[in-house]
Amino acid sequence: MLCKRIIACLDVRDGSVVKGINFKGLRTAGDPAELSRRYNSEGIDEIVILDVTATIENRKALALTIEAVSNEIFLPLCVGGGIKDEPTAHAAIEAGADKVSLNTAAIAKPELLTDLARRYGSQAVIVAIDAKRERGKFAIYVRSGQQPTNRDAVEWAKEAADRGAGEILLTSIDRDGTKSGFDCELTAAVSEAVSIPVIASGGAGTFEHFVDIFEAGKADAALAASIFHYSEHAVADLKNHLQSHNIPVRLMRN
């Protein structure tokens, strides 16, 4: 049976893992390769490296981070933040990323999804959508949640899938960093509208939140950062919890 995936997100700035609340107020949480090693031994299913500054000067530091993680962790690795064209996607993939995630650039230039899917395969192209509840709809924001667009998350998810995206990484801006639970309504709306997998993000605070997002939220995968960063064994404990709720998860061999 296909397992529900648990994904750890490493928000990286200048080679260090940081984590903010509501996209602001970053504080440092460690070395990416060291955290990845720990997550790998705890049974994480996938790792996302998100370059939260995404400036040109940082691209070299980012490549080194991707290399450091992918040289020793043999799990799917996705990189996002500042992927704006074929060269930036290529640099991340060359450094060891299996997938790249596009957000602002995909909205601005949707044909980029098709170009990248043609070159690397759809499995390598993730569309990241940052959505916020507004007037009964799910409005998309770009530029790290700072800039509103007139796009609707469900509509854009469908278009992105048609254009060649292989997965959707859906973040609730309202819930991000709040630990008050994933936005199940948002996730279910997108998940039911597309046939590609949807990764839910934003709001993980308790193990029960993960049960909710897989059941009510119809997510294929769930992503979190701080819940894993600051406590040891959280990944293994979470998976045991999910298994006890009959949610299929990948368990480590003893």
Binding site: S70, G96, A221
Partner: protein, 211 residues
């Protein structure tokens, strides 16, 4: 030992390279098909559309791979590399596979027996992405040390049929061949280079067979 990792432009080889390097294997990506005659093992990786395997039908690759297999070289096909061993795929019907294994790859679909209510929309998402379990159908060198139910990472929309050469199956909608094996020929639909310790064990099994 010389191992050829064939680069025919179907996706990115970095992950396979990194996993092989981590295991201490020396390998090369031959520029021309003739180089295969000096190799002791052959890996055909690949991800994406079956159309990409058309490149393997040109410039002597097809003949060279068949020759390497005939002289007993261990062969490992990964993902598209497994599918290429079959006669073809409905993803690109005009492009013939290598044809060493019988059957055609088909789009992943819901098992008809399980559709109880025709009005209900299929819950099966395609592509099949994520970790799923392996069921052993017989003894296999490439799956040596892999336990029943061990989980591996998949990402694909088309799947190979189960037949007499199938050594491992996985179920998603229908049961498909997630591992095939005949003498020195092996293929896996999942990505051993992305399947943690279980995947590294499978790559090690291949390397051990080459020595």
């Amino acid at each position: 030992m010389r191992i050829a990792l064939i680069d025919y432009g179907a996706g990115n080889l970095t992950s396979v390279r990194k996993a092989l390097s981590h295991l201490g294997a020396s390998f090369e990506t031959p520029a021309v098909a003739e180089d295969l005659s000096h190799m002791d093992g052959v890996i055909v990786p690949g991800v994406g559309n079956f159309k990409a395997t058309a490149a393997l039908n040109n410039n002597g690759w097809r003949t060279a791979v068949r020759a390497a297999i005939s002289r007993g070289c261990p062969f490992l096909g990964i993902c598209l590399g497994l599918q290429w061993l079959f006669e073809g795929s409905e993803e690109a019907p005009d492009i013939p596979g290598l044809g060493l294994i019988e059957g055609h790859c088909l789009l992943i679909h819901e098992n008809d027996d399980q559709v109880v209510n025709l009005d209900r929309k299929s819950a099966l998402k395609v592509p099949h992405v994520g970790w799923n379990s392996l069921h052993h159908t017989r003894k296999s060198w490439v799956l040596d040390g892999i336990r029943e139910g061990d989980q591996v990472y998949f990402t694909h929309s088309y799947a190979a049929p189960t037949n007499k050469d199938c050594s491992g199956t996985t179920t998603y909608g229908v049961e498909f061949a997630s591992a095939i094996e005949r003498e020195n020929i092996a293929g896996v639909q999942f990505h051993p280079e992305k399947s943690g310790d279980v995947g590294l064990q499978i790559l090690t099994n291949f390397l051990n067979r080459v020595v």
